[in-house]
Symmetry: C2
Subunit: 506 residues, 2 copies
């Protein structure tokens, strides 16, 4: 197991070890039932003291991820049958012998560089889930899939030979021209030369990270933030510093102070209808953020999947539209709004930052498929604006449904704030809700949500959760939310009861 130890860090070595192993267990990368390396072996592998490893294992035992016993060693604990992880564990254990029955246990010694993969863990819902509210997406019936397929067909069969070739690493020229027109109508003047087509925003984030972020580089993110981005920056060994948010987005005052001590290499932000909270960063803060980037000669990674999905008024101008000195890499995904199955996003960057991203793209996959690029090009040119206008109204009606259900059924513990756009609703629960138990009971009752902890770097004990109000039908949304409210009430009262039980009986 590779653990990147940062000596001289404010996090003690034993905690670094414990946190890394915890991330791997929670991500399902170490299976339940697995025996951790002995304290002695770990000591030798990492070049730390016996005490450090012993404390790390004790920490893991304290947070109930492993069970240690004298002489037998420490084993990763199992999970409830209803849990996603245990389904993975079942799949793993099938895999621990090969088809021919030979043991694959030697693979446990194979060091890897995957410290965390939370996105993977939280992507699929359990089979018993009838109301999938955990995934941030648009109900497939609302997406123009048939039209996109038709466009792809006509455009590509007219130019079959061209489709056969490798495309440009940077992405199809005509698609980039189409995007230029698209962005111009939204206040962002950009030429096709400044764009790179990526396989979804996820790949865009990953390319920026693999190009510019290495061990110890300082990356700032909002807390909470997008799970998949945390996975990416963690995998590069970044020193991630999170900045709390308020109603205007990232707390720039706090960021400024933090930067004094830890100068940034990159600031990752989702300024518009932020995932998961739905908050939009004010124009003033956007300008301040850009100022900071200019002062520190650092990059801003502006992740913008939702800008077109406003309910009343268009959002503030993008940070990229104010950027004259090439500090912002802007990533606009068309996956969510048009077609998750096409995996097309556009990254906009300047100067050698762009050049270097194109080089990274060539190493990563030689460029995105032409077929899907062509499919979106024709559609965006001709039909996108009409489509997205209707879509906005439909999404807003879903938000109203969610709001009504919550007004009627929410318990006192629940707090929320309706977003001005996007797909997500962030619920904060007051008191000491046992989120693990809530998640378990909710899944058992057929409703999935994204536990807030997946949106924090350190998996803190947050009592928040994200639901998506656009991924199911209105009817399913109503049902699912009502059930969720009931489960929250039940878990809350069980906890209160449990607490009461422990009071002295006098």
């Amino acid at each position: 197991m590779h653990i990147e130890l940062k000596r001289g860090s404010s996090t003690k070595l034993y905690m670094q070890i414990a946190l890394t192993i915890a991330d791997r267990i929670r991500s399902g990368l170490i299976e339940p039932g697995t025996r951790l390396p002995s304290v002695r072996k770990m000591t030798a592998d990492l070049g730390v003291s016996l005490v450090t490893v012993t404390k790390a294992y004790a920490e893991l035992e304290a947070i109930q991820l492993v069970r240690c016993s004298q002489g037998k060693g420490c084993y990763v604990r199992g999970t409830e049958p209803s849990d996603q992880m245990s389904r993975e564990a079942a799949a793993h254990s099938k895999m621990s012998t090969s088809d021919s029955g030979v043991s694959l246990n030697w693979q446990m010694t194979l060091v890897d560089y995957l410290p965390r993969a939370q996105l993977w863990r939280h992507f699929d819902a359990s089979p018993q889930v009838r109301y999938e509210l955990h995934m941030s997406a648009i109900q497939p019936e609302l997406l123009p899939t048939r039209d996109i397929i038709n466009s792809a067909y006509h455009l590509s069969s007219d130019h079959a030979e061209r489709m056969a070739a490798y495309g440009s690493f940077q992405g199809d020229w005509e698609l980039r021209q189409t995007f230029a027109t698209h962005f111009a109508s939204r206040g962002l003047q950009v030429t096709p030369e400044r764009m790179l087509i990526t396989s979804g925003a996820q790949q865009g984030i990953d390319l920026v990270a693999r190009t510019f972020i290495g061990p110890g580089d300082v990356v700032y993110m909002e807390a909470p933030t997008y799970t998949g981005a945390i996975d990416v920056f963690t995998s590069r060994g970044a020193k991630i510093i999170t900045v709390p948010m308020d109603n205007e987005g990232m707390r720039i005052d706090l960021l400024t102070r933090l930067c004094d001590t830890y100068p940034p290499k990159l600031i990752y932000t989702i300024p518009t209808y932020h995932n998961p909270t739905g908050v939009t960063m004010s124009t003033q803060r956007r300008a301040q953020l850009l100022n900071i980037a200019q002062s520190y000669h650092c990059l801003i990674l502006e992740d913008d999947p939702f800008a077109d999905l406003y309910f009343r008024e268009p959002p503030p101008a993008s940070i990229k539209s104010m950027d004259s000195a090439g500090h912002v890499v802007y990533i606009k995904s068309f996956s969510k709004v048009l077609s998750p199955g096409c995996r097309v996003a556009c990254a906009i960057a300047d100067g050698s930052v762009l050049t270097r991203l194109v080089a990274a793209k060539s190493t990563a996959d030689l460029g995105s498929p032409l077929l899907t690029q062509k499919a979106l090009q024709a559609y965006i040119q001709e039909q996108y604006d009409t489509y997205v206008h209707q879509l906005r109204e439909e999404l807003y009606s879903r938000l109203c449904v969610a709001s009504e259900v919550l007004e009627q059924y929410a318990t006192n513990e629940m707090q929320w704030r309706l977003p001005e756009g996007g797909l997500n609703l962030w619920l904060e629960l007051q008191g000491n809700m046992d989120m693990h138990e809530l998640h378990r009971q909710s899944l058992a009752a057929g409703v999935s949500f994204l536990p807030g902890s997946a949106c924090y770097v350190a998996e803190s004990d947050t009592t928040s959760l994200r639901i998506c109000f656009t991924v199911t039908s209105s009817e399913a949304l109503k049902q699912g939310l009502r059930i969720l409210c009931t489960v929250i009430e039940r878990v809350s009262s069980q906890q209160a009861g449990a607490t009461a039980d422990r009071l002295p009986l006098i």
Copy 2:
């Protein structure tokens, strides 16, 4: 500029610095005309002595990549107007100011982690090239693009809603079932659970590297080998050790001895119709290679794009088909043989090696696009075997054309060996051919080839080159090869003349 220095390595520090900078200059990542950081700054940044940096810069000057002058510093040299790099340089210099005319020079201080991107440099040919023999691909007219587009259309419009969703990270289940049947008919028994769909073989190699290879990990490769794989392992900071080849492929006797000193973490091989040499590894060596992997508990990455493209007899069984203990990650690309534009390949792995690759795929891009997967699925199911049967005959006829031209026009310097399958022909030139000059004159005469140096890790002064005999029409292949022979003769005689000139005139 981030330079990963390996203290205690057999390569001296100043050479490590020089090689890294050289790679970046050759890859176009540092533009012609750029001033390198001052010796003093570099000394401080890297924590090495002034002498070390001075020697590194002197080395770069000796190999004519930079020009240093007292008091002014060292500048990256420009290149001929006919050169690919200078077109990039032109694009770069346009980019060194933003659209609004603001300087982007601050970006030069932005450290990145991209040590090499040769693939990117050698991908596109210059505009004056009429005979593109540098790229390993099949002439678009021979590919079944129209049929694939039709399949995609019918299959996807029948299931439009499904196409709208995110697919599985691991790849479409039905495509994996189709692949299982496909591989079974080729002696490789594998279930869909053991597969991961990737965006081309390039992404497969990259996922294996990012998951299992980190700084200093020992990776063995054939010398020469696939440029894109060198880029990937270099970018991970691997300690790459190359093993010479003979007529039976990688010299396992040498590999065995090297492994005694440097135990392998991964062995990368293209055993069948090797790229670039065309050599096929014998069955005995395949078995020996697997034995080594078992002894050292390491991985073999078996890259197999060409197995279906044999000319007379099918190639030996894949190493994966002998692998019972999960040591081999097998990557089969369908890009070359069916559709470079679709970017679909299949990785086969076992146990937690597979699980970890799936996790890496989720972080990299959330899974490949469904549309392109569906497109290939229907085609492979119904038409692939008939298609590939005809294709083999056509490709063989191209090889015969190339062989005839070479027999007739080759100069005494040229040596080659006809491959039993695949797309590539490797030419070795005897004597001290100036390959840079040959490449320049060949491009000027309208013929591109891949300089052999791109296929070596250390960019050694090899006098070999790769041409692809399947990427153009037969007629263009004839013309191009004839011109190439003429250019080789001319450069050779110019050099002989130049040498003669330098002889004492007595």
